[in-house]
Symmetry: C2
Subunit: 201 residues, 2 copies
C-alpha cells in the first residue's frame, strides 16, 4: 500500500526537518511543522512562540516547572495544564491534516497520534554526536552552551514530552516503521529511501 502520510521524528541536529522538507517536495505533499504551530496558535489564541516552545517540549525534569504546570502558574484550561491543553489542540490539528490527504508531518508525537493508519509511514532520524554538533553550530550559530549540552537538553525535553503523552519510549525502533542514521547514511540517501518506501504499492 502506498504511504501517503509521512511522519518524521528526529533527534535535534540530525537533519530530520531538512529531510522532511525534501521528502515533501519530491512527493509533492504539503509539509507541516511550523504550519501546525500557526494553526494551533490561531485556535488557542496563544503566541506562536509559546506554542512552539511548549507544544513539543515538555517543561523538562524540573520539579518546580512541573509543579507550576499543575498549580496554575502557567494557567490551566478546563482543569488541564497548558501543556496538556496544547497537546489536545495539536493532536486534533494533526488528525485533521491527515484526513485532508497526503502530507509530511515533522515532530509533535504525530507517529503516535497516527499510529493506526495503514497508509502512514513513521520515520525516526538520528545521528552521531559529532554530526549533530557540527550541524547545529553551522545552522543555528554558537551559543553560550556547548553543542553537546544543547543537543542533550533539547532531546531530553522531547523524550520527556513523548513519554508523558504517549507512554512510549522516544527513539525505540518499535515505534517507527523506518529508522535511519543520517550521519552514516547521508541526508540525500535518507530522502531517497523514504520517498522510495512511500511510493511502494
Amino acid at each position: 500500500m502506498k504511504k501517503t502520510i509521512i511522519t518524521i521524528s528526529r533527534e535535534f541536529g540530525s537533519g530530520g526537518r531538512t529531510i522532511g522538507h525534501q521528502v515533501a517536495e519530491k512527493l509533492g505533499y504539503p509539509y507541516y511543522d511550523k504550519e501546525l504551530i500557526k494553526t494551533v496558535a490561531e485556535k488557542t489564541g496563544f503566541d506562536p512562540n509559546y506554542v512552539e516552545e511548549y507544544g513539543e517540549y515538555s517543561p523538562g525534569k524540573s520539579l518546580l516547572s512541573l509543579l507550576s504546570s499543575y498549580t496554575g502558574t502557567h494557567g490551566t484550561m478546563g482543569g488541564m495544564s497548558v501543556y496538556d491543553f496544547l497537546y489536545v489542540v495539536q493532536r486534533k490539528a494533526i488528525l485533521e491534516v491527515a484526513e485532508q490527504g497526503p502530507c509530511v508531518i515533522v515532530g509533535r508525537c504525530a507517529d503516535y497520534i497516527l499510529k493506526d493508519r495503514e497508509d502512514a509511514l513513521h520515520v525516526f532520524i538520528h545521528a552521531d554526536e559529532a554530526f549533530k554538533a557540527e550541524r547545529i553550530v553551522r545552522l543555528y550559530g554558537e551559543s553560550e552552551k556547548k553543542p553537546e549540552e544543547r543537543l542533550k537538553e533539547k532531546d531530553t525535553k522531547r523524550a520527556v514530552n513523548y513519554k508523558h503523552f504517549t507512554d512510549r519510549t522516544w527513539g525505540d525502533c518499535r515505534n517507527y516503521d523506518l529508522s535511519l542514521n543520517s550521519g552514516k547514511l547521508g541526508i540525500d540517501h535518507c530522502v531517497e529511501l523514504i520517498v522510495q518506501l512511500a511510493n511502494e504499492e
Copy 2:
C-alpha cells in the same frame, strides 16, 4: 562507502534471519549465525546446543539463575561465568569473521562488537505482535505456551543479554544505522533496502 559487513539484530519472529539469509545470497557474502555457534563450540569444547542457548540468551530475569551463574552452579572459567566466557569467545569469533572480509552476521551483539567499523551497516528488524505470532507458529509449530508468551520470553532474554554485555538498550534506534518494520514493509522490501544501502558508495 560501500558497506561490506552487515549485522542484523532482530525481534523473535520478525523474519530477521530470513532477511539475513536473502541479503547474504543477493550480495554473495557468507552468512553467519549457526556457523558462529559451531566455531565457538569447537573452540570451547561446549555442546553446540549449549552455545546456542547461552551464547545469545541471558539467563533471563530469574534471580536464582543469575546467582547460579556467579556462584558456579553452571561452572566458571578463569573466574568468569559461563555466559561471560561464551561471550568472550563469541566476540573474538565475530571480530575474526569481520576481518576476513564481507559477511552478514545475525544476532550475538555483533552490532555492538563491530560498532566502530565504518564499513559496517547495522540493521534492526522488528514487527507487530500479530505478524510475529503467525510466523512463529507457522515456522516452528505450536507449543504449550501462547505465541505471545514465546515472543516475550525470547526477546526479554535477548534484551537482558544485550544490556549485560553492551550496557545499551536493545531495540533503541540509536544503536543501528537502519531499523525496519518487516510486518509493515514486507520481508522482500526489507531485503531490497538493505542490499541497496550496502551497495551505495
